[in-house]
Symmetry: C2
Subunit: 208 residues, 2 copies
DNA sequence: TCATGTGAAGACATTCACAGCA
DNA sequence: TGCTGTGAATGTCTTCACATGA
């Protein structure tokens, strides 16, 4: 499998979603310039990204939506399912559940964890909440590799360490903190405050 | 003012936060390699980023935390405050409030908007919630330029259009949708589902 | 000696532009 | 004709490596 950039991966994931939408609308063919409008990615970039998947479109009819979708999935996905766990069932954790629960066949939220006794053993959106100290058992037995860190900043590092010790290998970190973890763990930072500051910077730029 | 990349801006914002933390811990000097450990950015990159601010450190004592902090702020910030508004007071909107309300002197959440009558006129974290159709008035009178879009995907586009019509020039979009808006509007996409899929891809990569 | 600031090199990502094909 | 796939060119970002100065 060829080397591919992080940005290309993000775009492939985006294309996949859009193609999925098109399929439910019964659109069966699409050209790169049409996909370009739907994604804000140039058509040359799209064609370049699709090269890695090995799929080829037709210069006459463009891409077959279903076949291309399958090709991207084959490229991105591993065989079998991947479990996801949410750490922290405050507002953020619950909002992730809300956005997530729509479709996503292959990625599944299998458990949530919180220390608050009022939340433990409750079931939200069909997901049971466990005590944080039960994480290791549950993660091992349920094939969970992805963890969403949605706890207050104060305890983010400790919970992240626990996640890694429990077997999580990829973390989506919403807390405004850099985590110190072993290098083989993948961490995606989605620092909520930094995002607002960035928008503030650029929103003002545009006015000038 | 020199041209600077989006990534550099993100890093400068990050440095600023870390420096703020150091200041409250009474650390007054720092070397680029120390800042490197705190940020996961190489020291060469840090020095390169700092060039644009015009601040110079001393090869003997490194950077003066307070002076560097001020220099970065001068570079990033506009004079005066910038108002922020949250659209959608579901779990996500409220979690943004929670993370935000800690410090942030210059950026201030000034209003929230929702269509749900149960939420309108309530005050959370000191922020009043208004009806969405009151947005234009309030945004114009309160100097609000940044909008956080935290509504369900279904209505994201409509609310975004309304935000722009009300005078918002920068949008932080959490919904898993690409927004179609005039090109002068800055949009930062923080697609929550895409983020999980990306982590899933890389968490599995690391195992192999 | 040791860290900064920076020109130059290198690595990486995007766009151009066109051959090939139906 | 009009789109795909892709080599080559361009553009952008990061790292190297060293002169400089205390």
């Amino acid at each position: 499998m060829k080397k591919i950039s992080e940005k290309s991966i993000e775009r492939l994931i985006l294309y996949r979603r859009i193609l999925g939408n098109l399929l439910t609308e019964n659109q069966s063919k699409i050209f790169s310039h049409q996909l370009s409008r739907l994604t804000d990615v140039t058509s040359a970039q799209i064609r370049r990204d699709l090269m890695v998947t090995g799929y080829s479109g037709s210069p006459v009819h463009g891409y077959d939506v279903e076949a291309l979708l399958k090709s991207i999935c084959d490229y991105i996905d591993t065989p079998g399912d991947q479990g996801v766990a949410i750490f922290g069932l405050g507002h953020l954790g619950r909002s992730v559940m809300g956005y997530f629960n729509t479709r996503q066949p292959r990625l599944k939220i299998k458990a949530a964890f919180d220390t608050d006794p009022d939340k433990v053993n409750r079931v939200l959106h069909g997901i049971r909440c466990y005590r944080t100290d039960q994480a290791k058992d549950i993660i091992e037995t349920q094939n969970i590799s992805v963890g969403i860190l949605a706890v207050p900043q104060r305890i983010a590092q400790d919970v992240a360490t626990l996640m890694v010790n429990s077997g999580i290998t990829g973390i989506l970190n919403y807390a405004p903190t850099r985590l110190e973890l072993p290098p083989q763990i993948y961490v995606e930072n989605r620092d909520m405050i930094l995002a607002v500051e960035k928008v503030a910077y650029y929103s003002k730029k545009n006015n000038t």
